[in-house]
Homo-oligomer: 399 residues x 3
């Protein structure tokens, strides 16, 4: 009886999301997905709804495969577990085979150009997922180069199809992460509407490592401001983000009648927060200088910079999310978020971003947060590749 009720609830849920999805007019077909702010709020809502539908189908053991054959190519220019497996899972669930472009095993070292490689891997490819987040000014540029190259190949009739390029993390944004984060918030608070007026704090936190990408905090302030949240960014002096994205967040907040503010201490940032997202990142100016030094191959300079940064970092060791600072948040239902892996004090770091007790309390929540990513990616692939997406989803649900 309970099971029958559950089944009914599932069907009602699927039907509701499907109806909402059908009402949205979107513009994602044959499009790349590089930065959330290049897409309308409607597009983002559609991605979330479709991800929810896919997740529910998977939970109830129903296939949403739409491809008979076809390739999904991944290019990882940095280590990855979560995103790698999310992309692999999304491709598999839709019926695509994953092939990783391992740059060491390819002839890219032999002077092959980006635009050439992009075409060579695309002859039977539906989607290209790229992670390139190490150098400021590089990752997003590289993705745009790949996209331009395959567009040229398609326009010239060399490629039968124009694969979609999906950003799996660049120097500016990490859209599959932040959309999974947004879906986690939507599910946690009940709806996107329920996010309005809620305070989310994206705070720098101490980590013994140096040079973590800026893309997650940047992606978060660029995205959460569009849904009427009160977004507070907190960091020590000198740890600012890319200026253009700060400006973007301000505009978004204005447009969505939320707010965006920057504060210089963690305590103030945590006061009354509904959601906290404490995470380490490198200062913008450091990433800029590091990128220059890497281009020059200046080993001594890099060594000096690292030393300077670590010394500077050490000054802010007290920027740790522990039980005491968590008390300043709204109440005990405040949501702690992290994109993982976190530096946990006493677990994998002497001093880290978060204390062991706080992390342990929210550990399964952070897994849940991560669990949306495969479905977000599947939704992005589906929406960019499938004609008559609405009709196809209807067929999938009712088959």
């Amino acid at each position: 009886m309970l099971q029958v009720d559950n089944m009914k609830k599932t069907e009602t849920n699927l039907k509701q999301n499907l109806d909402l999805f059908k009402q949205l007019s979107t513009d994602l077909q044959t499009q790349d997905f590089l930065l959330t702010w290049q897409h309308s709020v409607n597009d983002l809502k559609a991605v979330l709804l479709l991800a929810e539908i896919f997740k529910e189908l998977h939970r109830t053991n129903r296939s949403f495969r739409v491809f008979d054959t076809g390739m999904a190519v991944s290019i990882f220019r940095d280590q990855s577990t979560r995103t790698r497996f999310s992309f692999a899972s999304a491709a598999n669930a839709l019926g695509l085979s994953l092939v990783d472009l391992d740059e060491e095993k390819s002839q890219i070292a032999h002077g092959e150009t980006v635009r050439e490689t992009a075409n060579m891997i695309s002859f039977l490819t539906e989607v290209i997922g790229i992670r390139d987040d190490v150098y400021l000014g590089e990752g997003n540029k590289y993705m745009r180069e790949v996209a331009a190259a395959i567009q040229e190949g398609f326009d010239a009739g060399v490629l039968h199809k124009r694969p979609s390029v999906i950003n799996l993390q660049c120097d500016l944004d990490h859209p599959t992460q932040t959309l999974a984060d947004l879906l986690h918030l939507k599910k946690h608070f009940g709806s996107l509407n329920d996010l309005k007026g809620r305070k989310i704090t994206i705070s720098w936190a101490y980590s013994p490592s140096y040079g973590k990408p800026l893309s997650v905090p940047q992606g978060l302030i660029g995205l959460m401001t569009r849904f009427g949240m009160n977004v507070t960014l907190a960091h020590p002096q000198g740890y600012s983000l890319t200026p253009e994205i700060i400006e973007l967040a301000k505009r978004h907040a204005q447009d969505a009648t939320g707010s965006f503010s920057i504060v210089g201490n963690m305590e103030e940032a945590f006061d009354g927060a509904d959601v906290v997202y404490p995470k380490s990142w490198a200062p913008y100016w450091v990433m800029e200088r590091r990128t220059e030094l890497l281009k020059l191959g200046d080993g001594d300079g890099l060594h000096d910079l690292e030393k300077e940064c670590l010394a500077n970092n050490a000054k802010y060791r007290n920027w740790e999310c522990d039980a005491s600072i968590m008390k300043r948040t709204l109440d005990e239902n405040t949501l702690y978020m992290h994109c993982l892996p976190a530096d946990i004090t006493g677990v994998n770091a002497e001093h880290g971003e978060v204390s062991q007790d706080v992390f342990e309390k929210y550990r399964l929540d952070t897994y849940r947060q991560a669990s949306y990513k495969p479905f977000i990616i599947a939704a992005l692939i589906f929406l960019s590749r499938i004609e008559n997406a609405k009709k196809r989803i209807d067929q999938i649900i009712t088959r």
Copy 2:
């Protein structure tokens, strides 16, 4: 006419195995497969029968695919050819896509914990195959940690499904190898019943390398004793196996009214044997000390230990399976077995486990022995994942 007869024989064979399979009451669904001795004889019989059915279906070019989509994740913490390809083949035959967790390309080096990684790779995963056989006391523990972590994730609703964990070789057992070995014996002698009273000799043999895992001989004495065989373990002084597994083999032999004995020389062990399985392994106490030194990062200690071991090893260079010792076995139909790759004197080693003429005589038999592994793994995956396994197999055979 011959072809029609063959087809009839195939169908009869399939039907017989199917009937036997249906009569067994088994308890493998939603279970991990870590050690053969954690499962009933009926369960093991069911695995063998299903592997035979799958092999016959493949031989006659019939698909036994049961998944539309889904992932099989492999984690190899040691080199592998046979097991890697067996797992890949089994996954493919059932319709799952293989993704390998390459720990160098993941963020595990960044301090990610096992329980976190286990969940991150499992969102759309049906099965996780793990090989972790290098350190004593580690491999099996690691597999149990992974299993506990995904159980926690499943219980908390983070994972929609609880993937099965399959041991692809640990420090204690190598169940997919020994079950393939058992199936090879069953096919060679006609039935499991025909194994009763037969003498199988698992003997240490000389190899110029040092530190080979104990899991194969341990797995063999733990498994073959359950089917009424007279199991003789032979090794030089000091090359003993894990004490608990020795005790286990003794109990199994008693329960199945077979026998288990340990002798100190190869000649005695080979006398009158129906089956010989000569293979090098490291002494238990060496593996213990090695594991400690590795944990301490004691390079000098490891160097000294290796020197001592190789010197000790060299004393037993005459533990080679050659034509002369093979004469002591039952007769010329005695079966030689090896899990491969073997150290063959004059081929890939100056002095090895087996002489070239003996190995060459049985070479294709060792390939045949290996050929069962993909089907054993497919059977393990199938039985742990598929509801109403008996009905589904019936459908597959009759479709």
Copy 3:
């Protein structure tokens, strides 16, 4: 209306190629594909026609999948982008799963023999693609060893099926490249008949690197001479190819009433050419000496040889395909070809095989040339694996 016309044109095209394909009597089933000259002209024509059919099906978004499950194994003993992705794409399009035998992750280093490994990777495998082009006298030999080993396993009943071995580049030939090149020529000039009497120049060109394989120029002179082309091979003194293949090209030219000549300067070779294919390769005698030194592990000798070769190479820096030498060709419609990646002066090399302006003019043509390779490989797999190929293709087209 235009779309309807296009669809009609597509169908007519497919039907014509299908009819031609059906008329050819071929002998490719259950055969390896190692060297183009081991197969009849009819076989090669069938490969081309089927590749065209597959390409057209893909262009019009129709699946030509024929396998439900099954494995395609790749062994790359050299870096590769194009061929790696072409093999992966072909396997995927036909429904096979790709598994790469990464020799570092396997136990091959542990003294496993080729014949053993070949069987271990073949239990559920349909096709094995191999690239082994580094040492003269090795690559093709290795492929034949693999083929003999799996033949032995199949004959002994160890393997249910005998996988096909496909040469993805060896020391002698690069058949998937040259067949793609031939299809590019067929499409460019209208038909294979239209190639008769046309001058194709395969010329050595300068590259700052040393030791590029001989397989592409050898494969080209061995193949294009069979279709009545006037093949001119040009290279500086000392840069000759394998003598046996030179003899082969001469015989082919005689049989097909085309011509084959060797000239010592690029200018003469380009005079009046319909097609030019300027590309660097190492001298035959250098590859021979290099192979010997590598076998001896003679580091000093290799260093000296490299120094000598680079000095020698530098003398021929003027062997560059630039706008001035292109003027000597037939006319402005002359086709420039390259197997990629090319060494382009001022782009990825100070001095290279081709000037930037010439390469840029033909860049998209070289992509188009490469675009045939996945379909050539798919055709080779299909023809070697599928019984009643003609009937099956008919079914695929009409489904």
